[in-house]
């Protein structure tokens, strides 16, 4: 009919207009700063450095192998290696980063650093409110700003963190077993040496 479509459309918008005052289900907008939706597991923004335990310097997993620095496409990572060594996540003595900087104004959140890290030391964060009033200083994050505990990682990416934790635990067990075997072998060698010397002493007599 003449003008029927227009009337149908007008009825539809009127229904939406009044319906939005009656039923709250229609208004799906989340009033952001006050209301927040839970972060989804796959969300990612900028990288951070994971540390185990309480002390962020002792527990840092990074061994300053420079792989992430070399792989980073926009070259936003800067690492300086230490001269001394400290035990890493699985207990082996390793170098650690004296300086670890990420320029987040350059970072493009590609996650390549996370993919290439063989030590599970760098992971993607989900925090996104990083506005600063300084154009340069506020966006260059150093080692201290980047360090976040493993508990935080478990909280933001639970499934991924569980897999990493399991792998690390296995690795730690292996290292511990190896160390134990080495210690046993050493003890046995010492015992054997002691026995042989006593035999030698005996034969000399």
């Amino acid at each position: 009919m003449f003008g029927e479509g227009i009337l149908k459309g007008l009825a539809e918008t009127a229904r939406n207009f009044f319906g939005s005052y009656v039923s709250k289900d229609r208004l799906t907008t989340v009033q952001f700063p006050e209301q927040r939706l839970p972060q989804i597991e796959a969300a990612r923004n900028f990288p951070f450095l994971v540390y185990d335990g309480e002390d962020w310097q002792q527990g840092m997993r990074c061994v300053s192998c420079f792989i992430c620095e070399k792989e980073c496409p926009p070259k936003c990572i800067f690492i300086e290696k230490s001269t001394d060594k400290k035990p890493d996540a699985v207990g082996k003595p390793q170098f650690y980063p004296k300086v670890f900087n990420i320029d987040v104004s350059v970072c493009m959140s590609c996650q390549i650093c996370v993919e290439v890290c063989p030590f599970d030391a760098i992971k993607m964060d989900v925090a996104f409110e990083h506005s600063t009033n300084n154009r340069f200083a506020g966006l260059l994050w150093d080692k201290k700003e980047l360090a976040k505990p493993n508990e935080y990682y478990r909280q933001i990416h639970p499934i991924e963190a569980a897999a990493v934790d399991a792998a690390l635990a296995e690795e730690r067990a292996k290292v511990a077993a190896k160390a134990k075997a080495a210690a046993d072998a050493k003890a046995a060698a010492i015992a054997a040496a002691a026995a042989s010397t006593s035999v030698e002493v005996a034969t000399e007599k």
Binding site: I6, G9, E12, T13, F17, S20, T29
Partner: protein
């Protein structure tokens, strides 16, 4: 009702008129008329600028609700101070002028647009005895001033020295001129019936009652058709959705005012809305009885309140339509203007003549309705038949 009550009602109705007289009566005689005119101009500028602010927030909230959103709800109670924030924002923004632009014309275009929009209010009676000038060619003056807007639009498009703004201006001009024809023709029926071009006498003629029913022109077949045609043409004339192709905010950003920023951009918005209010107010004056109450027992409510109630109602309908209809294509717009609107307005003139010369009664009603409805349906059918709906094949894009 006693006489004193009538007097009290009359005093409230005329409160602005008498207070204006009292304010200027102390001045020397030679300054009285000019200062009373200045007072009226200040009142018009303030009231309609305020109405513009209220309309922007109502429109944004209304459109939001129609799309199941909240709309602005941050500034002030329920977001009603949003226009203040917008005003501060547009005032503090950088005013960019293209280096190759015609500086003077680029500056003058928004000023002329707003000025032309305000000039139209001079002849609009917003209440009983509340009109700035009672010109005996008021309607003619209104349309003459309204066509200044086209000049301002083309000045904006031309002076920006930008091909997009020039093309946008050309589209806008084509649309405005095309729809000015049916706009004027639709209002001629009222001039025929009233026998006057003065807006004040047109309203006076409608401000009487038979029983409780008013003598508005919209309650006649030709008046109703004329009102509908006038409102469609007014929508196109003020570049409102669904005829908002000159602006086309979702595809061509801003058309002729693409090179404007800051407060000049806000002035274009102001001019556009003022034009919409002015044409709506003209529709009220011509067809909806101006400041007259819709029923005889409601005449105790002051006349200016009735005028603004009708104006706000028309604005809400504009917002409702904007939230509903998608934008027309340029060819649809043009063919609608010349192939449907123009024949219908001409036919409406004829029907108004038939109405005038037939004796009053039910037969006159039936004849006039039949004379309007049958051609409208036949015309829209025949226009539809010319169009074939088929899958389009693009030569190079496949």
């Amino acid at each position: 009702m006693t006489l004193s009550m009538f007097q009290a009602i009359d005093q409230i109705d005329q409160i602005f008129v008498t207070s204006q007289h009292r304010l200027v009566s102390d001045l020397p005689a030679e300054f009285q008329s000019i200062s009373s005119a200045i007072l009226s101009v200040i009142a018009i500028v303030l009231v309609f600028a305020l109405l513009f602010a209220i309309t922007t927030v109502l429109e944004r909230k209304g459109l939001g609700r129609m799309q199941n959103r909240y709309g602005p709800n941050r500034v002030g109670p329920c977001g009603f101070f949003q226009p203040l924030a917008d005003g501060v924002k547009s005032l503090t923004k950088e005013d960019l002028v293209p280096r190759t632009a015609d500086q003077l014309v680029h500056f003058l275009a928004p000023v002329l647009l707003v000025m032309a929009a305000f000039l139209a209010y001079a002849v609009l009676p917003v209440g009983r005895n509340m009109v700035l000038v009672n010109l005996n060619a008021g309607v003619l003056y209104f349309f003459a001033v309204g066509s200044l807007v086209e000049l301002a639009v083309f000045m904006a498009g031309w002076s920006s020295r930008n091909k997009y703004s020039l093309l946008g201006a050309m589209r806008a001009i084509a649309q405005m001129i095309s729809y000015e024809v049916p706009l004027v023709l639709a209002s001629i029926v009222v001039i025929m019936a009233a026998g006057s071009l003065s807006t004040v006498s047109i309203v006076d003629m409608q401000a009487s009652y038979t029983g409780i029913w008013p003598h508005w022109f919209v309650f006649t077949p030709w008046g109703f058709a004329g009102f509908a045609l006038f409102m469609i043409a007014a929508t196109a004339e003020s570049n409102r959705s669904p005829f908002d192709l000159p602006e086309g905010e979702s595809e061509i950003i801003a058309g002729y005012y693409i090179e404007y920023s800051g407060f000049k951009f806000a002035l274009f918005f102001l001019g556009e809305y003022l034009g919409m209010f002015a044409t709506s107010a003209m529709a009220i004056t011509l067809f909806l009885g101006g400041w007259a109450a819709p029923f005889s027992f409601l005449t105790w409510i002051p006349s200016y309140l009735w005028f603004f109630a009708k104006l706000v109602l028309l604005i809400l309908i504009f917002i409702w339509i904007r939230g509903t209809l998608p934008r027309l294509r340029m060819d649809q717009l043009m063919s609608f203007a010349w192939q449907f609107m123009l024949p219908m307005t001409l036919l409406n003139l004829f029907v108004a003549g038939v109405w005038h010369f037939m004796p009053a009664g039910i037969v006159r009603w039936l004849v006039c309705i039949a004379l309007l409805v049958a051609p409208a349906i036949l015309l829209s059918r025949s226009l539809k038949q010319g169009k074939k709906f088929a899958v389009r094949h693009y030569r190079f894009a496949e």
